[in-house]
């Protein structure tokens, strides 16, 4: 990747930027680590400075200068309006319906926006054991709506999940509403190729937008089921130089911070190690 060139960009950058643009000013957003955290912070640094960023580690209204590597990096606490306990963040804040937007990634997604972050293969004897649920099963129930961001390929966009970790629209056709789930569920899925939204009646994910230089054909081939396509497919605007610059500066600062010396400006009882080789 050529970081210096601001008229070229990667599919990952396009995905992060397209996701960030969908966040609105004032939005109370519960984010996971990775692309959701990058997109939410990009929105906060550009068009939505007053958005409220919440991480499950208990930071409410946190304003990190670099992207946290973990969900509980110190800066998330130090820059937060309030830091609460984990039982509190999940009960008084998430379950009580105080979150506008839950922003998640996944390893697998199906046509109804159900998510797998648990296993590839059989649960008892998995081919690949993934990290698991974390906050997601309840975030998808209680946040007023959900954005999902993940790379699109036949391995990630599957006809049948190996395991349903977190509910999207279940079997679609109103099942989510019939089960009295309070949140509206996944309203947008942002990938490295385009954007999908649930169809009004079936709630099946439907392609509504593509990125420049990505064909509808390519997006269909990257999907493990016959993908529904909206009548009018939008083309997402190419990122302008300033948007790319803010994102790349953020990643650059983050990289320096995460490989840096933990001694920096700390009260440290003994010398610490910044790099470890066995």
């Amino acid at each position: 990747m050529n970081r210096s060139s601001l008229n070229r960009y990667t599919p990952d950058e396009m995905m992060t930027i397209a996701a960030a643009r969908l966040i609105w000013p004032g939005c109370v957003c519960f984010v996971g680590i990775g692309v959701p955290s990058a997109a939410a912070n990009l929105a906060r640094l550009t068009h939505a400075p007053d958005m409220v960023l919440i991480y499950e580690s208990g930071g409410i209204g946190t304003q990190p200068s670099v992207l946290p590597l973990s969900i509980g990096d110190g800066e998330l606490a130090e820059t937060a309006t309030a830091v609460v306990s984990l039982p509190e963040i999940f009960s008084y804040w998430l379950q009580a319906g105080r979150i506008d937007l839950g922003f998640l990634g996944a390893a697998q997604i199906d046509r109804f926006g159900n998510l797998n972050t648990t296993v590839i293969g059989d649960y008892a004897k998995p081919k690949t054991r993934l990290p698991g649920a974390g906050g997601a099963p309840e975030i998808v129930l209680h946040a007023k709506q959900i954005f999902v961001v993940l790379k699109q390929s036949p391995r990630s966009f599957v006809a049948k999940l190996d395991f349903c970790t977190s509910a999207g629209f279940l079997n679609g056709h109103g099942e989510r509403a019939r089960r009295a789930i309070t949140g509206a569920g996944p309203q947008v899925v942002i990938t490295d190729l385009g954007v999908l939204k649930p169809a009004p009646d079936s709630q099946e994910l439907t392609l509504v937008a593509r990125y420049e230089n990505v064909s509808v054909d390519k997006i269909c081939q990257a999907t493990g089921w016959p993908l529904g396509i909206a009548d009018n497919i939008d083309v997402v605007a190419t990122p302008p130089a300033d948007e790319l610059r803010v994102l790349r500066d953020l990643h650059k600062r983050t990289e320096i911070a995460h490989t840096g010396d933990v001694l920096r400006s700390r009260k440290t009882p003994r010398p610490l190690i910044s790099q470890v080789n066995a």
Binding site: S57, G74, F90, S91, K127, P131, V262
Partner: protein, 281 residues
């Protein structure tokens, strides 16, 4: 309440086959205590932690655990916990029984444990396959509205171990920063062991700070930098470079065992462990 060396406290209070929770959500993870458990070769432990993190990757890879209760088992921001994966996927070095929750479920289970209630409740686990693989996740009907509410049995570890910023001379403990479910895990436990950055004359705690009073604490050891490579707010930052480097170390069984031998087993205590890492850097 006893003050002592970490070595004697772990020797006295941790027994093979016990349920043990080393809590701390990313912050204040009791690495020094975990390493001492590893050094003393405790076996058949039922490990409990919301996020197993590197410390349980190490204990599982070294063969200390027979089961694990958890809600998210990755290396945060990096990827897999390779030793946990190897145990679940290949039974190496031994089979690991898993009891899997969501964060909200496990938080409710600790809260019930602290309150000495038999189960915790939440609006949760709807539409997920988790109850199919964890039969402990059940439901009750609300006696007032008839609404279905998910339940999880209380978690009451035989021993909970925390790392905290400070204890005073009486043994009162102060925790600040990201506090996770530490207070709940502490009050849910039969025995509470705490390592601290320092023992001070007075905690000077703000009125609503999280303070665990000395009479709920079983034993305290002063272990500076005892959360490293996790962190202690106000003392040292999370060593994110170490978390990144762990991915390579843990990926390979032999390299992992070499690392454990060289840095944990061949060190007498946490200070020596930190010195051995410094030498290798």
């Amino acid at each position: 309440m006893q003050f002592g060396s970490l070595q004697e406290i772990i020797d006295e209070h941790i027994r093979d086959g016990q349920s043990v929770a080393l809590e701390g959500f990313t912050h204040l993870i009791p690495f020094a205590a975990g390493h001492e458990i590893l050094r003393q070769k405790k076996r058949d432990l039922h490990l409990i932690r919301m996020t197993p993190d590197l410390i349980y990757d190490q204990l599982i890879g070294a063969g200390c655990a027979c089961s694990l209760t958890f809600s998210w088992g990755g290396n945060p921001g990096v990827g897999s916990l390779h030793r946990l994966r190897d145990a679940v996927e290949n039974d190496w070095p031994r089979p690991l029984e898993i009891h899997e929750h969501s964060h909200a479920g496990m938080a409710a289970a600790y809260t019930a444990g602290a309150a000495r209630m038999p189960f915790g409740m939440l609006r949760g686990y709807v539409g997920t396959d988790l109850p199919d693989v964890n039969p402990q996740v059940r439901e009750v009907r609300c006696p007032y509205t008839n609404e279905k509410i998910a339940t999880v049995p209380a978690i009451n570890p035989a021993v909970t171990i925390l790392h905290a910023q400070a204890a005073d001379r009486q043994g009162n403990i102060l925790i600040r920063g990201i506090v996770g479910a530490q207070k709940e895990a502490a009050l849910a436990a039969g025995t509470l062991i705490v390592t601290v950055e320092e023992i001070v004359e007075s905690l000077d705690a703000p009125i609503n700070a999280i303070v665990l009073p000395h009479w709920v604490v079983t034993a305290i050891a002063e272990v500076p930098t005892g959360a490293y490579p996790s962190y202690a707010l106000g003392y040292y930052a999370r060593d994110n470079a170490f978390y990144l480097a762990w991915d390579e170390i843990a990926r390979d069984r032999e390299r992992f065992m070499e690392w454990i031998n060289r840095h944990v087993l061949q060190s007498r205590d946490h200070a020596e462990f930190l010195d051995s890492l410094a030498e290798a850097a």
